[in-house]
Symmetry: C2
Subunit: 309 residues, 2 copies
């Protein structure tokens, strides 16, 4: 990399957990001369002005993209089509348009038709996050050592792709190129279905008549509390993900349920060997995730003993 920043102006549309982490890392690493937040008027806009992590907060996305060399959509995926239509006339020739959404095939279909000739549209998905939301939840190191998946099409300009690749590497990410439909299948099993079953068990537990909510809360250290972390993720973002990745989620969910029914049958019929075999096999995968640098090796995620008291 030369001493000049990768971009003159980067505009982030929507500045929640991911957008505000981008704003911070762009500043920290000097990846652009200017970072602009393009947001709707409201509480988040006021917070952004107060915490001042961007050079400007423009409460009109179409205005905010005018000078940008890189525009990144950081709103829930369900909003992309409308935003793309609004900003398209103001996108600069040669600019790169990208996003951070957890679904990629629908993004190509929703956004693609709005993109003017001469603008390079390359969807992206940094596989990183926490259960917290909003501009104050972000931090510059969020993408450090995490994978970012780019899903170009055969028509994508190689120079623009290389520039976006370099941008994410400069943000700390490891970068992978993938076909959009395959991305959606991979994320359905590594992210979307896990979120769905976490939301689901928390719902099931809170609806019981025989066990009180207070008991669920008190004894949650038995395992349940782990699920509440991802079940505390942003509701709008996740609603949009499930609606936008319906086919892949239903496919993976079907397999999950089929396997669960088989396991239920093993329990009903007392097949201890089948249970033991599965429980032994699953143990190995965690060790591989730790070895791959994608998980802490500290027991209990490194939560301190008695933490929270």
């Amino acid at each position: 990399m030369s001493d000049a920043p990768l971009f003159n102006t980067i505009t982030l549309i929507g500045v929640g957990l991911i957008g505000s982490s981008l704003a911070r890392v762009i500043r920290e690493k000097g990846l652009a001369r200017r970072v602009i937040a393009g947001v709707r008027p409201g509480a988040a806009a006021e917070t952004l002005k107060r915490i001042a992590i961007t050079d400007a907060v423009i409460e009109n996305p179409a205005e905010a993209v005018k000078d940008a060399d890189l525009v990144i959509l950081c709103t829930p995926v369900g909003s992309y089509g409308k935003i793309a239509a609004a900003i398209a006339p103001n996108l600069k020739p040669g600019a790169i348009l990208s996003d951070v959404g957890s679904v990629k095939d629908l993004v190509l279909r929703d956004v693609g038709p709005h993109v003017p000739p001469g603008v390079h549209f390359i969807p992206a998905h940094p596989v990183a996050g926490t259960e917290q939301s909003g501009p104050e939840a972000g931090f510059a190191a969020l993408f450090d050592n995490r994978w970012c998946i780019l899903t170009p099409t055969p028509d994508t300009d190689p120079k623009a792709l290389a520039k976006l690749h370099a941008f994410w590497e400069a943000c700390g990410s490891k970068v992978e190129i993938m076909e959009a439909k395959h991305h959606d299948l991979v994320l359905a099993i590594t992210s979307h279905v896990p979120h769905l079953i976490a939301y689901n068990i928390v719902g099931t537990a809170s609806d019981l008549e025989t066990v009180t909510n207070s008991e669920v809360i008190k004894y949650s250290a038995g395992g349940f509390r782990d699920f509440t972390r991802i079940a505390a993720s942003d509701p709008t973002m996740w609603r949009d993900v499930f609606l936008a990745n319906k086919d892949a989620v239903l496919e993976m969910l079907g397999r999950f349920t089929e396997d669960l029914i088989a396991l239920q049958r093993n329990i009903r019929w007392g097949d201890g060997d089948a249970l033991f075999d599965l429980f032994t096999r699953t143990r190995a995968i965690r060790h591989q995730i730790i070895d791959a640098g994608q998980e802490t090796n500290r027991p209990d995620f490194g939560r301190g003993p008695g933490e929270g008291k």
Copy 2:
């Protein structure tokens, strides 16, 4: 509490994660004059002799209980009946016999009939643990600020109960008294079904033909990796839990699956409002668990950014 230790001799039968944590906290807090490990000959026994966290390692459980005022079964629950039969003739009159198992009704039925008159049998369950196993995985602070559930019967001697209550409080726990069958229902939803669905999704993910194991591992930070923690728990212990708490697990699992099918239908028919409502409701429960002191309030369990690289 007076200056004298609560017990003269405590014998732990089986010394894995929980037993070795007990051995350590008993020593650290001076809760007994002597702690004895009663284990089968083998690798764990050799480890125990090497790390010397007990005053003696006796490779014969029946011998190990002879002088004990408190005997705690710390082996997988499926082994209790056989162990109880073996140690019963050697239990001292007036001794307390307890355990740490995650299922309580079957324990009453498996162990109860072996308990000689004059011995106080009081099942117990400390709701604490990590995904690691074995005598070297334990630590004295494991029970700190966690709940321990005692499940006495109407016949239980109140003095013995008070003594076991005091013991667990001295170990750092908060203590609750519960009926055994109710305990099993509460733990089915707060611990057993969460473990089952974690084991299950890790199994589903590793069996896919369309997504490679290497992809599952690389992109696990999207949520999947959280589930691998509890799916790395001890296979023998968990096999026994599901076999021993069959009815309550099948009941809770039936509700979970019913709710999941309804959620699947919402996704198929694009009912975003139903998804949004559930995802909003579940968010509140995590905050209650944090407020109750049973979970860290640090984002992402406090895992460091990019941790593991």
